[in-house]
Symmetry: D2
Subunit: 353 residues, 4 copies
């Protein structure tokens, strides 16, 4: 397929020879820079837009999908992806991040696969579910962050009587724009095993801060710890709120053996805002997706106000300012592409008042 | 804009209630994963295709653009970008890399601007041109690699009587997919100054390998050395061919003060293949764009053969194998997104026989 | 002072002119290499020797020092340093490490000072004591590791009715051989404040593995966490013993925000050996000092056997092999100069059977 | 051997029971901290002193040693080590650095050995000599810096008619204080081969700044480049003097593939001071040894003035201030332990006026 043909833009001589030139250019699989208005915008253009999805709707539709859509090798996962209205129908929450609600019904399993896009789960509702990450059974409960890093096998099990709902995030848009997606299905046969209340990764790497195995360190690109429990997150936020003295606190989830981001493409963090408190307004390039885990608040994104209740999700596009004011004490899970921007020397942050 | 509406895929019950469900999903700005066939391909899908552009055509059209297209604030640069036929009319050589030919006529100047996408020039023809990089005048001559790293000011001057042609590469597709593009025009007034045959960056950082200023190190994300001269590249390749003993040699352009890639998003390298010699076949994820600086050869990209003569350019998409066999001693400049893949823990390489 | 004068070694002509030459050499503050036999030994010479100190004696003498020796600005600390018999009367446990028992009687305080040699405490007996590290009050209890990194203020308080005994380790011999010792006394006036059961450093950095403050990271050369509690150490060792399956486990104390050694000159680790189990024999260059925190064992150091009971301390010099066989379940605290050897590219380890 | 016995210091009760206590302490191989006055000085105590050695004397004695002392397996090297008068007869220039003059007569060879202490040569006089570093023959000429990193084989050959004199520096005092010395003799049989004017390490890593082999990088602890040539050093200094505008310039010798110090324990640098110019006064902890390669100057070390002529060497102990004023344009080679202090988090620098 040849490139599109251009006509001379305004202010340039509309002569036949220019038209001929453009035709030759197109035939040669070339494009003139000077007709590509907007290819170098002064600032990141608002493609993805600030947007919020209400939990009430998300939950209803996820539940409904459980009634209607079978889960098996043909579909594998019952997932509704957040589709940012600015992204022309692409199933992405932002330019770089996939966000979604996943539903796993009572008694259901989702068979094993792996892919180079990194994934994480942040659990919203349910109990008794476990996921098998590279052979390590990891129980899941509300408020837990569970990682399935790039190219790790994962399958999900719900042996209980109630459904589980979780937030899924992947770096899929980034991985696709890099043409870096590999995918592989595992065996149809599911693992069948007793599950401890704590995963092997937690036993080895998650007992106490600053205590690590002496010399058997797992040194992949990602955290060797696959689960970060709500109980710990909650307690850490409480302490950090006490320390900050301004009613807000933020923590970062990191590899406990190196202190680096849990995965090289996705920063994970948790943010507490006390009733009446407000976070400092800032903007950065790169985008993020947020989940309201508890409480209610108003998020102001690029001067647009979004009312948030428990479970509501929202997208903050590149270079859009953000501040959050809580109406009742609120906790937010956030994942962003910040490590990508930092690794590539592109990070910019601006604090605003 | 709401998301596109889906009809139930084959093999799923085509009931009204499913259709209703899909309608609700679309209205809620959501998309079901299970209808997104192909979103996780087993391997990077061939979007960008292996492709070569002939110098004869590139040169003619660039020269013709010099006759037809004025260069000024409306257009700024006379650039023909390589438009990979697989990329649906986008002006990109590969998924992540912009490649182009730039033409600067006798007596012309291109006024100052800067942008977060990183750029480099590899000079093909001409003399007497200089570019001003962050205030440092850098002469340009055939075979030279000249950097204009992310967010550095640059303007071009051709005070002589002959045109200059050079290869331009930018990480623009990557920067755009990250929504990381910032752009700023400089003053219309051009610099007017005497130019030394060597830039300030070369005087300070480019005299001898392993000798660096004791304590005034520039520690940005990119190399403080802006120009790598053909004379040096040529001599280094000669020595490395002698050492390798197999008729081929490859060098990497690096920051001389740290040894890291010249810019965090683009690896630059130069490759010599003696007449009759052949490089080892390999493939990696991520893509590259190549320029035949001297000689002639056949490049086999994903089993497709491309005959290359001096000046010809070619694109190697993600996960496509490559080997090069020279018919006369040939030198290739290459730029790739490899540092991005390495920084993000995504790099894969496979050597083939 | 001029250099010592040498006479010609055996096998060299003992002529007057040679003697004259040596005289001139000495007068010029020079020394001939060829007479310096042993300056480059084939292996690290045994200067420090394998040695163990019995807790029974250490405790008695420390207690006795409490009766006899006042603690004040003239002496500051009631410390008995381990003096390796191989080190010609120097007060060092090994070539690079100072080890000691410190005693702080009921109601006593040790006033503030700071020094560039890094120090750590591993508590053996007592309760109710707290130390103030850079203004942060840190309670001390048996089994706790407490850091006072290089150049941090520290003072000790024993407001209770019982004495405390702890093991002190410093990199003082190293710091002295580098001529890097700075020292400063603080005010005579002691801090007077209520002490929480948990220090500020623990509140901020020690709540849960992999959860760190989002953006207020302390990035000095050492861990921002000053205390590692026995309860956590004990529980981690238990889990690691379960995982190893061979009755032994080793953990490393690290900076929870970066995973690096707690201090750049001293590695800290804890080792559990179940009754009847035996650690793998190995040797490394560089030295270590060990404290038997619980249980009893036999340590074989360079083929010499040492019977160890609770509280016993021992020194392992450079390139001496070590293995430990427990007679009852035993826990060992260890500090070594391994990070120094690694940072300087000098580390060697040899596993033996 | 038991520890020395102390008597109670002044101001403490000289009772029998105290004496008894001290006796018991000594018998237990312990030492009381409180009697160790001076073990923690406020600043690094002046042990090594500022000192200069005159080239006239060094050269005469080195030449004389060539007449008197045979070179063979019994002695191996004809080396006169700088023996700092403050170091009680130890053959060290400073606390951490060995400095020496080495003499290799016409037709002589020094057989192969290797040791963990790192060594470097800075050539002062002679021609035609080459050294074999790990099998790579490296020619030596005045002004060249040649490395023999830790544990690399090296042997020296003087096939010519004139002697060679060079400055040797080793981290031997440091390596010894760490008990890290290993040593091994090579075969008596010397290499016998033609020597190119350039070493293999230079061919591969030393052709041009920022151009490195694409993928066969040597990644040891030290620079893969073994020789830094005077011609390059001289030219770089000239350029840096032009840039600085104050008549002085300093360059650091680094690994051209990573920009780190040439060896992890010794920083190497070269300093030019134009006639009448003066370097900024500063002091740092850690020590250095300097060689006046060209010109004459006055160095003020800790307020003591030393007149320096070509070839003169001087030692700057820890925390002694230094400034140099040239009487004729002067070049100085310097080696220091700065990378050790930086790696261990101990570095302090103070600029003085």
């Amino acid at each position: 397929m040849a490139s599109p043909r251009f006509t001379a833009p305004d202010g340039m001589p509309k002569k036949n020879e220019v038209d001929d030139f453009y035709e030759l250019v197109a035939e040669a699989d070339l494009q003139p820079l000077w007709v590509q208005k907007g290819i170098m915008p002064n600032e990141p253009p608002l493609a993805a837009v600030p947007f919020a999805w209400k939990w009430k709707t998300l939950r209803e539709l996820a539940e409904r999908s459980g009634e209607l859509i079978p889960i098996d090798r043909g579909g594998d996962r019952r997932v509704l992806s957040l589709s940012n209205p600015g992204l022309a129908g692409q199933p992405y929450a932002t330019q770089t991040l996939w966000g979604a609600v996943q539903y796993l019904g009572p008694g259901e399993v989702a068979p094993a696969h792996r892919h180079t896009p990194a994934a994480l789960r942040f659990v919203l509702e349910g109990s008794g579910v476990w996921t098998l990450v590279n052979g390590d059974p990891v129980p899941m409960a509300p408020g837990d962050l569970v990682l399935t890093p790039s190219w790790s096998w994962h399958e999900h099990h719900n042996p209980g009587n109630t459904p589980m709902f979780w937030f899924d995030a992947l770096d899929l848009p980034l991985a696709r724009s890099l043409d870096a997606v590999f995918f592989e299905n595992g065996p149809d046969q599911m693992a069948n095993r007793a599950v401890d209340p704590i995963s092997g990764s937690e036993l080895k790497y998650g007992t106490s801060p600053g205590l690590v195995p002496f010399d058997e360190m797992d040194q992949g690109a990602h955290s060797p710890l696959f689960a970060y429990r709500w109980k710990d997150t909650d307690r850490t936020l409480s302490r950090l709120v006490d320390i900050s003295g301004n009613g807000t606190a933020s923590l970062k989830f990191v590899d406990p053996t190196r202190g680096i981001d849990v995965m090289p493409t996705m920063r994970c963090s948790m943010h507490r805002v006390s009733a009446g408190a407000k976070t400092q307004k800032y903007r950065r390039n790169g985008s993020s997706v947020w989940v309201t885990f508890r409480g209610s608040a108003v998020a102001t994104i690029a001067e647009e106000r979004f009312h948030l209740d428990e479970g509501d999700m929202f997208a903050v596009p590149s270079w859009c300012s953000l501040s959050i004011e809580a109406t009742s004490e609120a906790d937010f899970f956030c994942t962003s592409d910040a490590p990508v921007f930092e690794a590539l020397g592109l990070a910019r942050v601006e604090f605003l008042n």
